[in-house]
């Protein structure tokens, strides 16, 4: 397709993307560099039932309203919020670097900061879940594909279940099962032989549980894509391989996998993005004491009694940047293809 034709073809989609994707991102970007006005505080007497009256502080609304009137966007703070302890924590990282004598000490200080702690878990999650989810998805696709056709429909349905179940519900189900009074939890207690053994009390085991959940949830997506890909597998290639005396493993390794490779890249990319934004299982597992992610931080900033819109916006922008960095190799390749096509 010529670029000009493409442009006209793309225009409606492009307009919708600008309206629903680009503009909100700009809005989030704006919110992350503006913070609420400095509060004008005053002391007043509060009277409440059963306790009586005490002197407490409150915001002087008239004075604050005047400030808001003057600068409706709030106070411009530039990159201050990005640099504070809740985000990149530049000062704290510098101090940790200067004070630490070993890498271990530095790492410990770093993971004490919310952003780096979240990244630590998120990257571990991605490293395990993305490849294992793909391998499991492929294995299921190969297994289902070799079934008798009467069984296929049923097996496809069951294999898709983890994706059909809402993530929050799926994680809650697993959460109850691994509770020390749940079926898996009490089985583990029996296995270990320690009545106080608790999966949910250990950071390492909680991470394992989250990763296992992640793989369970991710596999069906890979399965669907790979199963569709298997239907396009050229029969003659496979037959010639069989005539050459290739074992089943060799057929998979040298015929099936090369054929599915573009799909593996596709599934890998989607999974990479999804896993970077891991959120529901952390809430479902009540795992925030052990594992957090950037999405969880945004949720936490927005769900407290006092909402931190600027902090949440800054974390959102950092999430977008993180996804961009993860996808950069592919973006670069697409750009090269585009230049090559000219």
């Amino acid at each position: 397709m010529r670029h000009k034709t493409f442009l006209w073809f793309f225009l409606p989609t492009g307009a919708a993307m600008i309206l629903f994707i680009f503009m909100p991102i700009i809005s989030v970007l704006m919110q992350s560099v503006y913070a609420p006005h400095e509060a004008v505080l005053e002391e007043v007497e509060n009277c409440v039932p059963l306790v009586g009256c005490t002197i407490e502080t409150k915001i002087n609304q008239d004075a604050t309203a005047a400030l808001r009137e003057a600068e409706p966007l709030g106070r411009f703070v530039g990159l201050e919020i990005y640099k504070d302890r809740g985000h990149l924590a530049t000062e704290e990282v510098k101090a940790a670097w200067a004070e630490s004598e070993t890498w271990g000490e530095f790492r410990e200080k770093l993971t004490n900061l919310p952003f780096y702690r979240a990244m630590g878990f998120t990257l571990t999650f991605i490293i395990f879940v993305t490849p294992l989810g793909i391998i499991l998805g492929l294995a299921i696709a190969l297994a289902v594909n070799s079934l008798h056709r009467h069984l296929k429909g049923l097996m496809i349905f069951f294999s898709l279940l983890p994706m059909i179940v809402t993530p929050l519900i799926g994680s809650l189900v697993l959460f109850w099962m691994i509770d020390s009074r749940g079926i898996i939890g009490s089985a583990l207690v029996g296995l270990v032989g320690d009545p106080n053994f608790s999966l949910k009390a250990s950071t390492g085991l909680m991470w394992v549980a989250l990763i296992v959940y992640g793989i369970w949830h991710a596999a069906p997506f890979g399965f669907v894509v790979f199963y569709a890909g298997l239907q396009t597998l050229p029969k003659d290639q496979l037959e010639s391989a069989q005539i050459d005396g290739a074992t089943r493993w060799q057929q998979i390794r040298y015929v099936v996998i090369p054929h599915l490779m573009p799909l593996v890249t596709f599934v890998g990319l989607i999974q990479l993005m999804d896993n970077f934004k891991i959120f529901e299982p952390i809430v479902g597992f009540q795992a925030s004491a052990h594992a957090t992610s950037l999405s969880w931080i945004i949720y936490n900033d927005m769900s407290g009694e006092t909402r931190q819109l600027s902090a949440a916006s800054a974390t959102s922008v950092l999430t977008i940047l993180g996804v961009a960095i993860l996808l950069s190799p592919v973006l670069v390749r697409t750009w090269h293809d585009f230049k090559g096509a000219k």
Partner: protein
């Protein structure tokens, strides 16, 4: 026979007419609030008013929607049911109106103690009180041969006695789930040790202090006697453990008291053994390690005066003294409504008030500190860092948030 029917019909009509006359509203009312039995009863009664549509949205996530739902003009919600912590967020953004003139016009029947006054303005009308206090199993304590604890130090001794005699493996309960619950437990303990959350007259945090360290160490000592999953147990999960008979002593919300024996599936042991007492003190302090709470309703600022008046009338009807004539409703909470006779379930909260328990601070920046506490304290309880480090982290996290919100320079 015919005559009887007519008499019955007309008396019913009279009754219905009487109720309608008692509460007639002239504009729309829309209520947002938390979801528990007492609030449901109030809203149910507010909806008896006729004349205009009365809607409600009661959900545990009310705090996530009430502010946004009242910021528009006109506001979606004409009233939000709040507590001392959640009214602050609404006042910070100036979305609730002072009720002075409405109370002057329609306030007959409301008692003075129900009115929440902030600097001369009435900002809310309270209808129930709440506090955390002791709940325990008198049968287990008797079996173990120990007295009912009045301090946290005694609670540890009681727990040790119960465990060492093999009565209950993890006898202590507590809503220690990381996040809001854990922070609230710290607040209780911290106030019990005489701590002040902020330096006097400022928004500077003050939790990294001797009281803070003592509070954390006491919490850690208690967790030794808790279900090892305690960091994931919120008050729902803790109560489920209690009702299943797995807990012998715990500090729990008074609003849960009446349900401990009536919920489906409670074992007979728990039903017969359940008892409540006032809140515990700690470290030789006089003030209980607990906080007093009220629940009440506000009226939105960004609505017409007609809607505000209708809202006031409907909500006043919701908390009218006739609400608690029903014994089932009277049991649901510690009502601050005229004519309320404290039931047995309420004595824990009243004991808290008598002992001088402090109210949960109604400060504009308290919510930020609460969030910081909820995020940072779990590391200490898991043994990953020292109490000093955890509290320093809390102050650092709070300071960053308070700077963003303009409370600190």
């Amino acid at each position: 026979m015919y005559f009887k029917k007519i008499a019955l019909a007309s008396s019913l009509a009279l009754f219905a007419g009487g109720a309608a006359q008692a509460c007639e509203v002239g504009a729309r009312v829309n209520i947002v609030g938390n979801e528990f039995a007492a609030i449901q009863a109030v809203v149910e009664k507010a909806k008896e008013c006729s004349g205009a549509e009365i809607e409600s949205n009661l959900t545990a996530d009310h705090q996530k929607i009430n502010l946004a739902g009242m910021q528009g003009n006109p506001a979606e919600y004409t009233t939000a049911i709040v507590a001392n912590s959640s009214i602050v967020a609404l006042m910070n953004d100036d979305v609730v109106r002072p009720l002075n003139d409405l109370v002057a016009k329609h306030g007959d029947g409301l008692s003075d103690t129900q009115l929440i006054r902030v600097g001369g303005d009435i900002m809310a009308v309270a209808f129930m009180a709440n506090a955390q206090h002791l709940m325990y199993r008198k049968d287990i304590l008797e079996q173990a041969g120990v007295e009912v604890p009045t301090t946290y130090e005694e609670m540890l001794e009681v727990a040790e006695a119960i465990r060492s005699q093999g009565l209950v493996e993890n006898p202590v309960g507590g809503a220690y789930a990381a996040g809001w619950n854990l922070a609230q437990e710290f607040n209780n303990m911290f106030l019990g040790y005489g701590g002040e959350h902020f330096k006097a007259g400022s928004a500077e945090p003050n939790v990294n202090s001797e009281a803070g360290i003592k509070a954390l160490n006491m919490m850690k000592a208690l967790t030794e006697y808790m279900n090892p999953d305690y960091l994931t147990h919120d008050s729902n999960a803790t109560n489920a453990e209690y009702r299943a008979g797995n807990i012998a002593v715990m500090h729990m919300w008074g609003s849960r008291a009446s349900q401990q024996t009536t919920t489906e599936g409670v074992t007979d042991d728990v039903k017969n053994g359940h008892a409540i007492a006032g809140p515990l003190t700690v470290g030789g302090g006089e003030i209980p390690a607990s906080t007093l709470w009220w629940d009440g309703w506000t009226v939105a600022k960004n609505v017409s005066d007609e809607e505000a008046e209708a809202t006031f009338l409907a909500m006043k009807n919701g908390i009218a003294p006739s609400l608690i004539e029903d014994d089932e409703v009277a049991k649901l909470a510690v009502w601050l409504i005229a004519g309320y006779e404290p039931t047995d379930d309420a004595k824990g909260v009243f004991a808290a008030a008598q002992k001088g328990t402090k109210a949960y601070p109604m400060l504009p920046y308290m919510g930020l500190l609460h969030t910081a506490l909820g995020n940072e304290l779990a590391d200490f309880l898991q043994g990953k860092e020292s109490a000093e480090q955890a509290l320093a982290d809390v102050e650092a996290a709070y300071t960053a948030a308070a700077k963003e919100k303009g409370f600190l320079q």
